[in-house]
Amino acid sequence: MNVTCPCCGERGKVTFERSFDTTTTVIEIQKLTKTFRKFTAVDSLDLTIYKGEIYGLLGPNGSGKTTIIKMLTGLLQPTAGTTKLFGHTLPCKSIMNDVGYMPQDTAIYIDNTVHENLFFFGSIYGISKQRLEKREREMLQFVDLQNWRDSLVSTLSGGMKHRVSLACALIHEPKLVFLDEPTGGIDPELRATFWEYFGSMVKKGITVIITTHYMDEANRCSRVGLLRQGKLIADGRPSDLKNNTRTNSLEDTFLALAGRKKP
């Protein structure tokens, strides 16, 4: 099907239903750069992410993970470089129906109830009421907040708010999900549940971009990218990275890549 995107003007095959294989490109990043005044937060990033991947962005605080995600979601205007999502050059509103985003800060309405938040974010995506009710039940079960449906978000604990935020990012069944530290402040048991769920998502062909500081989570990613001062210093499957540097754990891999010895 040959169409012109009404939004970004991209011509050619524009179809979201692609065959289920990891060679289908979902994100294509070229020379992506962001500078704040003189400070370069992201330095000429080239990266391609395929359908059904869980791509983990790793790196110390301030290494540019959030800045990358903000550019990939069209929130930040890159200083240089381009990003294509599903073949569309950003900025492009028409693909946003298929994108889910969980910002690093909780980003939900604290003066509304959990239910109101879920329904509000769902309604933005034009989901029918019946479907929304079903999705709400699924999401509340997933983040284990069934009993908190009608509570005001301001009365929830920090981790609970975080869980509502994750549920809001997934309520519309996006095909591409950006999760900025979804497991920060989440207890170990629920963290395991989350990763099981992420696993089931990628099995359905959903692509997940995730940032984390937990090494056990990094190990569960299909690929990880290690950032240092805005530069991608390593990119590959966790096992490959470990083999290449002849280390036993990802933690040691990163220390080795950063040129530091294990203490």
């Binding site: 205007q77 946003m96 509000f120």
Partner: protein
């Protein structure tokens, strides 16, 4: 623009107010409190003004005139007709003492009828006018303009009434009174009070304050909490976001205005002679324009603290320069041009014209046009602002 999505924004904002009872109360209580405080302090008529009255009128000796009733004491008749509610009269026989009382601040005024008051009245009636006019002396403490105006108004009003009485008792001959004051009212009437003038202004002012402040705080929070980022990463367009909030404020504005109007009618029996729907249209336009202004200002505030700093910036020009309390003509002429750039001025003017004069769109179209342009400008500017990326 998708209607369902737009309604989603309005719904969420309104639900937030339902949970946030305090803010909701503020929306209603602020204008009611203003009406109550200003209505009762400014609005009521001045009462119990202490006034000394010295009556030296010797009246008409019997047999002097066939024209006027025998033994007429005109000053006495006038004194009898004074409104004792407004003036608290104290009869005094000594002019100097009466003046001293005013001087000492024990009375606001001394009214003195000289000895030949009735006599002079008769002379003026019978001979050519211009010789000896009947004269009332008023010694006034005019340090409070409201009170002195009330004293003067009462005196002239009472003299008029007394003269009218006199004419009706003298039905045998048609005489020409030396003074006739005839008042007819284009708008309002002798019973129009400050509150009638004030209420349309308060309604406009309240909607302006509430909409601007709440919008600034809502959008500062949207930015700070990151919810706005989420909206911008959704298929929702910036205009849907702005329209969604506009709809929510329209609901709040209409609700607020109706409650305030009903309260003002019940408590103060205010006059509304114009079209109430037109009045609500003006309210909506004010709400839309100031919502846009709020979004624009929110971009200049990093947090709620900074947002609150906008209050005096908006409050004082609106209170002082938009004609809320005083007519714009009464502010210094070099400040008057400033009032033209305050949108509230047009809202207040329109509401007054509708409610007090019963004017329609034909007379207030300039106000309406300015408000429409203001709303179009701020709303489209805020859509552009939301579209701007860092």
């Amino acid at each position: 623009m998708k209607l369902r999505r737009t309604l989603g924004f309005s719904r969420r904002a309104l639900l937030q107010f339902r949970h946030d009872r305090r803010t909701f109360a503020f929306v209603l209580i602020m204008p009611l409190l203003m009406i109550l405080i200003f209505g009762y302090t400014f609005g009521g008529d001045v009462k119990n003004i202490a006034v000394e009255i010295v009556n030296q009128d010797t009246g008409l000796p019997p047999g002097t005139s066939t024209l006027l009733p025998q033994g007429l004491f005109l000053a006495k008749n006038i004194t009898k007709n004074f409104d004792r509610n407004t003036l608290s009269l104290h009869e005094n026989t000594n002019i100097d003492d009466a003046r001293q009382k005013v001087h000492d601040g024990k009375a606001w005024a001394a009214i003195i009828f000289p000895a030949n008051f009735t006599q002079n009245f008769l002379t003026t009636l019978t001979t050519q006018p211009g010789t000896a006019h009947p004269k009332v002396e008023i010694y006034l403490d005019a340090s409070n303009p409201t009170i002195s105006a009330a004293v003067i108004k009462t005196i002239s009003h009472t003299i008029q009434i007394t003269l009218k009485e006199l004419t009706t008792t003298l039905n045998k001959t048609q005489i020409e009174m030396p003074i006739t004051i005839e008042q007819t009212y284009a708008y309002g009437g002798s019973d129009t009070r400050f509150i009638d003038y004030f209420a349309p202004g308060v309604i406009s002012f309240a909607i302006m304050m509430v909409t601007t402040m709440i919008t600034i705080i809502l959008f500062v929070n949207e930015r700070r909490n990151g919810t706005l980022q989420r909206l911008l990463v959704s298929p929702a367009s910036e205009s849907e976001i702005v329209a969604g909030y506009a709809l929510a404020f329209a609901v709040i504005g209409v609700f607020q205005s109706i409650v305030v109007l009903v309260a003002a009618i019940l408590l103060f029996n205010i006059t509304i002679i114009g079209n109430i729907f037109l009045a609500l249209v003006v309210i909506l336009l004010l709400a839309f324009g100031h919502q846009g202004l709020g979004i624009l200002l929110s971009a200049a505030a990093k947090n709620e603290m900074q947002a609150v700093q906008f209050i005096p910036l908006i409050l004082f020009p609106s209170i002082l320069l938009a004609g809320l309390f005083w007519p714009i003509e009464s502010i210094p002429s070099y400040l008057q041009p400033l009032s033209y750039i305050i949108p509230l001025r047009y809202g207040i003017d329109a509401e007054r014209s509708i409610m007090l004069r019963g004017w329609g769109i034909g007379e207030i179209w300039v106000d309406i046009l300015v408000l429409i342009l203001f709303a179009l400008f701020t709303l489209s500017a805020s859509v552009l602002l939301l579209k701007r990326k860092n």
